[in-house]
Symmetry: none
Subunit: 226 residues, 2 copies
DNA sequence: AAAAAAATTAAACTCAAATTAAATTTACTA
DNA sequence: TAGTAAATTTAATTTGAGTTTAATTTTTTT
């Protein structure tokens, strides 16, 4: 696994690095909060091991900031403070697990396994979104339907992804404008209508059952027949 | 949240039930492994709180079995055994978190929050109004009755929604005109009569018991038989 | 039985959405 | 870095589902 270890005490840091590398993990060390955020933004780690007591910005702040940005990387909080209140704060800040020093190394390994497994599942799942016979491949950035591979432009892809992720409920134009075009301002534009039309030509036109449905006066809905 | 608590010690079970219900969670209690699996298969819980020491099939087995089936519900293992080995086993069995008895209740709550947050995104809350056997799905913007899905136009939907939200009392035309058509002025129009007719055709025509009743000289009423 | 109220039907209208084309912006390539 | 292709956006036009009006029939009340 690719791990980011945020820890300022050199002894603990090198202990972790050595132990984890022995288990064939790839470790990046970092000793303050600011850098930790930077690293987490620029790299895709399997788990972030985060000490609470670090310079610049404490671990709680780091966790909060990452979650605020939408970063979903599992965070394992690590700290000497073992009081329940501390744990509560850590978990509420966005940590996924919490381990109190001193700990046994094999417990750390087990928790890492549990955390990474979780994310792995999510990642695997999220690589391909499906809606009935339509597939949206997030890796290849293409759609597939009825054995056919359908190329999509960036905007077409984002729109379709948003629709599928929000299947089974009505999506308003305003909502789409905010989430896919990130501008809730221009209410006069008809880009959405045009793009819905583009997508329909590609994924619905040649098929008897349609994926995208218009709700006049409301917006659009994409639903799976159950 | 909807929680499944798998715990055989009556004292602990009722303590958990009471404490969690005070936080407005919906609790299902279960005291053995076999039933736990059955319940987890048949219901969609936000988190499963799972004791390791339970009759029939221990918690580890339950977790493994659920994961083997592809069940992704977050599992919080709960146990008196605090040794690291136990934790490792639990986490490797597929648990997402681990809490050792005795624990402070607020830590349990924090861990539950952390666990559910992950999954919460996926579960879109079910917004459904019901009146006897009629359902009005606010997400899909459709009605359902007797297993049939009924499409409604925007106006039809708004009107039916207003009627159901104001069930068990007489609604005047003026009121409907104000609230659904937001114009109390035009008193000559008969749109409402026409739309009541539209709705009746869709939701009452094919069913012996009627939902919408006319109160001559007054308006309409929609009532639930109690 | 007459009058009033409501239900029903059909036709007219309206505006939201679909479509098309052209203008503009962005991305790529030589 | 200019030229070109692709993608995105704007704008104009067409279409049709949804809404409304209005006329007719049925039901209810007095």
């Amino acid at each position: 696994m690719k791990l980011l270890v945020v820890e300022d005490e050199p002894k603990v840091a090198s202990f972790l690095k050595q132990g984890l590398e022995e288990q064939d993990h790839e470790i990046t060390l970092c000793n303050d909060g600011k850098n930790a955020i930077k690293l987490a933004q620029e790299n895709q780690y399997d788990v972030i091991i985060l000490d609470i007591m670090i310079p610049q910005m404490d671990g709680l702040e780091v966790a909060k900031e990452l979650r605020r940005e939408g970063n979903k990387t599992p965070i394992l909080m690590l700290t000497a403070l073992g009081s329940t209140d501390e744990k509560v704060l850590g978990l509420d800040a966005g940590a996924d697990d919490y381990l109190v020093k001193p700990f046994e190394f094999k417990e750390l390994l087990a928790r890492l396994r549990a955390l990474s497994k979780r994310n792995l599942n999510n990642l695997l799942e999220q690589k391909i979104l499906t809606l009935n016979d339509l597939e949206l491949d997030l890796n290849l950035r293409v759609a597939r339907r009825g054995g056919q591979t359908i190329d999509l432009t960036t905007k077409e892809f984002s729109l379709l992804e948003y629709l599928i992720r929000n299947k089974n409920r009505v999506i308003t134009r305003t909502e789409i404008l905010e989430k896919v075009w990130d501008s809730g301002f221009d209410s006069t534009t008809n880009v959405i209508d045009v793009y819905i039309n583009f997508i329909r030509k590609k994924i619905d036109k040649d098929f008897p059952t349609k994926i995208i449905h218009t709700m006049v006066g409301m917006g659009y809905i994409v639903k799976s027949d159950t």
